[in-house]
């Protein structure tokens, strides 16, 4: 069912997924604009392959290498405040490919769910469809929050999603308390998203077989 939907609507799927990624990063900039009052005024691109090669060369243990590579940025967008010194980066949104990939996967799942929902919208299982939409939303928000990649001048290399939560107005202490659970939270988010996709698909299968059997839509059958 999922493969069938993807095959049937692959161009729409690519478009909506890419759109969701853009909306996600655009939303982070919007939050920063409303919280701090400035649009970004600089962008830096990094030589990601060269940087990864350097990390591999300079890090003996593979177990150390991986988390360092995962933190490597490909782009940095930020606001430089020139009122102080020769300019100081007030905030930055770094885009590490690892997080970009997570957001891209989440976006694909959300898009697939939307397509499956569209197919199932004529069925009678309104309550289930509503709960599946809710699950998709919950999974998306969970993955989205942990994938925030904002940072600003703090001295201890604070994980960027924690900074993002604090910027969104969450109490600083609470944001830090959540930090150790980042991997778990994002995993739960993906599980919820994947489950909702599977449930949508099985629901649509049921609808499809009912249509095949009776020639009518389920609510009529």
């Amino acid at each position: 069912m999922i493969a069938q939907t993807v095959r049937a609507h692959w161009s729409l799927l690519v478009l909506t997924s890419a759109g969701l990624v853009v909306v996600y990063y655009g939303a982070q900039i919007a939050v920063l604009y409303f919280r701090l009052g400035h649009l970004p005024n600089y962008i830096t691109a990094y030589d990601y392959p060269a940087n990864v090669a350097r990390i591999i060369r300079s890090t003996p243990a593979v177990s150390d290498m991986i988390p360092i590579i995962l933190n490597e940025w490909i782009f940095e967008i930020g606001y430089m405040d020139y009122d102080y010194g020769h300019g100081i980066a007030e905030w930055t949104m770094g885009i590490p490919p690892s997080k970009l990939l997570m957001i891209a996967i989440a976006s694909v799942l959300i898009s697939v769910n939307a397509l499956l929902w569209r197919t199932a919208r004529h069925s009678c299982f309104h309550l289930e469809r509503r709960s599946l939409v809710g699950m998709t939303g919950l999974g998306a928000v969970t993955v989205g929050l942990v994938s925030i990649s904002l940072s600003w001048v703090v001295c201890c290399g604070t994980p960027t999603w924690i900074v993002g939560l604090a910027l969104l107005g969450l109490d600083v202490g609470l944001a830090f308390a959540l930090e150790p659970f980042g991997v778990w939270i994002v995993s739960v988010g993906f599980i919820i998203l994947a489950m909702s996709t599977l449930r949508f698909a099985s629901h649509n299968l049921t609808v499809q077989s009912a249509v095949r059997r009776t020639g009518l839509l389920p609510e009529i059958a």
Binding site: A61, N71, E90, V153, C155, C156, T158, V172, E179
Partner: protein, 442 residues
């Protein structure tokens, strides 16, 4: 240790150095070394370094955290940062399986902890920490200023739940102080002084009140220092030279550093002049290690730092070697600690005259009289400096509080409360700078 026998002939050695042009206390190992090319002067060029080509890569960062990240990623070999970030650097590296850094040198210190401070908007009616109960305080979370704030609140028996603590970058905090959007902002050097100098903020608490020294240090990737120990020795010699350059003509140095960093020279003079906040000294004193251990405890309690084995991390062999090669007495220097209360006792107050440069006044009364005269004749003064009676810290004369004693002399204070206590004891009268010079003009 320094007997590594790597053959480095005809090699190009890239040295990545992360520094902070917006963190004053790092300049002696950062911007000064870079701009005066002091490292180039000392880099080894004999023996195994014959024919070596050096490629120096200086990267400027807004704080220590990103420097640590870049060191982990192998882009930087040397990092210069404040006490809290430097601890996190060591701990983060020790938390890995295969990487490590060494703390090889200090850059400078203030024995009493000046450099961090809590500032309120200039027009605020808040004069003490106790008045901040129920109000909002922002700080860059996890920074040295944050550590100072936590300790200050603890000492004042103010619970964290009694204040609305916000995480704000220095420039955001400074802008919010200027517009009165936040009740107080705690920050590291030179942000508090920038706010005071610009007339937007007023200190109500100085880090010196915590009694915990404030210092900065140099960390080096272990693989780099093991391979090129002579380069690290050269780097420490450059730090020493930077200190000598600063001592030679602080006003000129401040003006020069303003060009390099964009930080106002009058603010930099407060740090680097005779009696200023910062004592430039590369030695790793035992007291500093105790201080860093204390700071690590603060970070660990807040879950902001993994464990750190200080014995493994601190390595004073290179700074000792640098001192020996410069013909200096490391043991004597490492025992020498400048206490502003003692060292600044008899220092003259100063006015930075826009045309005539630094002018000195032996008494605070003479200083206020001169300031009044300059004001009356419309002469522009860049800044004025006095010393806090209680701590010996150098202050901007314009933000200090003055007690006019019965004999007509004046005593300067950083904060209003101690000035009032002193005045009550001695029968004196408290005034602001404006009030004090108005009295001189009468």
């Amino acid at each position: 240790m320094l007997g590594a026998t790597n053959i480095v002939h005809a090699e190009a050695i890239t040295i990545g150095i992360g520094h902070q042009s917006m963190c004053t206390d790092t300049y002696a190992a950062g911007i000064i070394v870079k701009e005066l090319k002091l490292l180039e002067k000392h880099l080894p060029r004999s023996g195994k370094y014959v024919d070596v080509t050096y490629n120096l890569k200086w990267d400027d960062y807004a704080s220590g955290g990103p420097i640590t990240n870049q060191m982990l990623a192998g882009k930087l070999d040397i990092g210069v940062m404040g006490d809290y970030p430097v601890i996190v650097n060591g701990a983060k590296f020790q938390a890995t399986k295969s990487l490590n850094t060494s703390l090889v040198s200090s850059t400078g210190y203030n024995l009493r902890g000046a450099g961090n401070a809590i500032v309120v908007p200039a027009s605020s009616n808040v004069y003490s920490l106790a008045q901040l109960k129920g109000r909002s305080i922002s700080t860059p979370y996890g920074s040295a200023a944050w550590g100072m704030l936590i300790k200050a609140l603890e000492d004042a028996h103010i619970s964290l739940s009694d204040v609305d603590l916000k995480n704000q970058a220095p420039s955001v905090g400074a802008a919010n102080i200027a517009t009165g959007k936040i009740d107080a902002h705690a920050d590291f050097c030179p942000w508090s002084e920038i706010m005071e100098y610009r007339g937007t903020g007023r200190k109500i608490y100085d880090g010196s009140q915590t009694g915990v020294p404030y210092l900065h240090g140099v960390v080096v990737r272990k693989d780099f220092v093991d391979k090129y120990p002579e380069i690290i020795v050269a780097f420490i010699k450059a730090i020493h030279d930077a200190g000598e350059w600063l001592k030679k003509d602080p006003a000129l140095a401040a003006a020069q550093m303003e060009k390099w960093t964009g930080v106002e020279k009058e603010v930099l003079y407060l740090y680097y002049s005779r009696g200023g906040h910062l004592t430039v000294d590369p030695t790793l004193k035992p007291q500093w290690i105790e201080t860093l251990e204390f700071d690590h405890g603060v970070l660990a309690r807040a879950d902001l730092s993994p464990p750190l084995d200080f014995k493994e991390w601190v390595d004073d062999r290179y700074v000792k070697k640098a001192y020996a090669e410069l013909g200096l007495d490391y043991a004597a220097q490492s025992k020498e600690i400048v206490d502003p209360l003692i060292a600044n006792r008899d220092l003259p107050n100063e006015i930075w005259h826009a045309k005539d440069g630094i002018l000195s006044y032996p008494t605070t009364a003479a200083f206020l009289k001169a300031a009044a005269d300059f004001q009356a004749t419309g002469v522009k003064i860049n800044a004025a400096y006095v010393y806090d009676h209680d701590t010996g810290l150098k202050l901007f004369g314009t933000t200090a509080f003055y007690v006019r004693n019965k004999d007509g002399s004046y005593t300067a204070f950083l904060r209003k409360d101690p000035a009032e206590t002193y005045a009550a004891k001695t029968g004196g009268e408290v005034s602001t700078f404006t009030e004090a010079i108005a009295r001189q003009a009468i």
